[in-house]
Symmetry: C2
Subunit: 313 residues, 2 copies
Amino acid sequence: MALGEFELIRRFFDRPGSGIGDDCALLTPQAGMQWLVSSDMLVDGRHFLSTVDPAALGHKALAVNLSDLAACGATPRAFFLALSLPYERAADARWLQGFADGLFALADAAGIRLAGGDTTAGPLNICITVMGEAPVGKALLRCGARVGDELWVSGELGDARLALEAFRGTLQLSGEAFAACRQRLERPTPRLALGEALRGIASSAIDLSDGLIGDLGHLLATSGLGATLKVDTLPNSAWLAAQTEATRRLCSLAGGDDYELLFTAAPGAQLPDVGVNLTRIGRIVEAPGLHLRDAEGHPLRFDAGGFDHFKSP
Amino acid sequence: MALGEFELIRRFFDRPGSGIGDDCALLTPQAGMQWLVSSDMLVDGRHFLSTVDPAALGHKALAVNLSDLAACGATPRAFFLALSLPYERAADARWLQGFADGLFALADAAGIRLAGGDTTAGPLNICITVMGEAPVGKALLRCGARVGDELWVSGELGDARLALEAFRGTLQLSGEAFAACRQRLERPTPRLALGEALRGIASSAIDLSDGLIGDLGHLLATSGLGATLKVDTLPNSAWLAAQTEATRRLCSLAGGDDYELLFTAAPGAQLPDVGVNLTRIGRIVEAPGLHLRDAEGHPLRFDAGGFDHFKSP
């Protein structure tokens, strides 16, 4: 039998000191800080499959939101969870416990607390709103890139898409490669320490959720500038590096679900070392648009936009 | 054809100065203020029928969240809209325009701005997170009621439930009565001015969304106290007053969707006049639990809990 709404919240989501129970959560800002807020909705069958490990789902639902805070250089403070659950899920204590475990493990690691939310019956849907803080005027924004700034990306690109293609059966991976790439797809790591360390250093930043080309397009749109992108310098894992050139480019340029940070910085800027690889992949130029270059510097055509939820995949 | 995700946001939800576009919205707190935050999720077929007027849906989705701010005495500042839309809705400009019109008409009236959000394909689901401000230490909370405090409610109770029963066919209403009660069900008025005016006056407050008995139970649970409730003094509209005693009591005590404020105040407290009727309906007592009284002061039994999303209706 499905647990009652309030019992479900008490048992799985109300932790000591959570403050859940009033109509609103009460948050006291620190002096000299601004709030950064983002809201993301994950839908069954669209952002994840209902067969996914519930702990991975709990992790990812929070991770994609924390990645937005990372992109803004914000320190995570509080999040709100709105959850629509089919009856069979609301009756499935193992699933709920797994989801809560994955969610809170990442919340604890990121230093963010669940401050409130909502639970209802309905098709599985997870909406998380995160709030973080940054000193006034220090948040990283999409605008701010200048001509001549260098374009940087954290970590490695494309493994999440490589795992997705393996799931879809369009290519085959070894067991080891599949396990590693699947981890990137299902348990992305929000680059919070990097985002905070880039305050005052990066001139603009965005997180990579829709794919490099799409997200770089969003970043450039705010400044009206363009960028050259050296496609063959894009950082890839050994698994993706072993694939065909077409697969490498598809996964690196239009992969989606990378949750790495893409940022610009003036040439010679002292970039922070927080244990995450940073790769210089291009440069901001005056000519609007995205100018792809191959290893020899020749123009390259690539036809794939970012992910759009209302276009067919 | 469905509009693209970004085109849909631009066309219907991005208004001048909205600031939509970065990974997070940036909010600067005013000195001496605390934030109050609430998140509510509305699901198709559960909280509304897909045939509802989209403008009414846009209004109600925001109204139920603003009602949480009202219950806390908060001044509305910013909200976030996460929207999951079936393809046919994303292609329906008339529906989207109606939804946006209803949403923004209430937002403008309440002085709250859309600061960000998310749009995705999926079963129709609306998750709104609202943020408001109140001076430090002045927010209304559920706890705080004292023995001897009087129990007050705003407006009239039960019309929303009366409309629902008419929709269900369990009773019949005249055309005029149905139109008036349906308005209460589909376009509730958040009691924002009253909530703000009750800062420093009410000792505790909650908004009525699940039904008077259920919500009063939540309020009492935080203090461990009880209340006497004079059932026949509950404020009703002429439409509900004309119904049988059983219908009046069901709709007033366990109606749900009233979005009136229930609050406690010390006897003799000077209550604000903001153009909303206030009715004294009972008193806080030491004996835990809810003690219903009829017109003669005799104990009354009534068997209906508040609304629980995971119990059958």
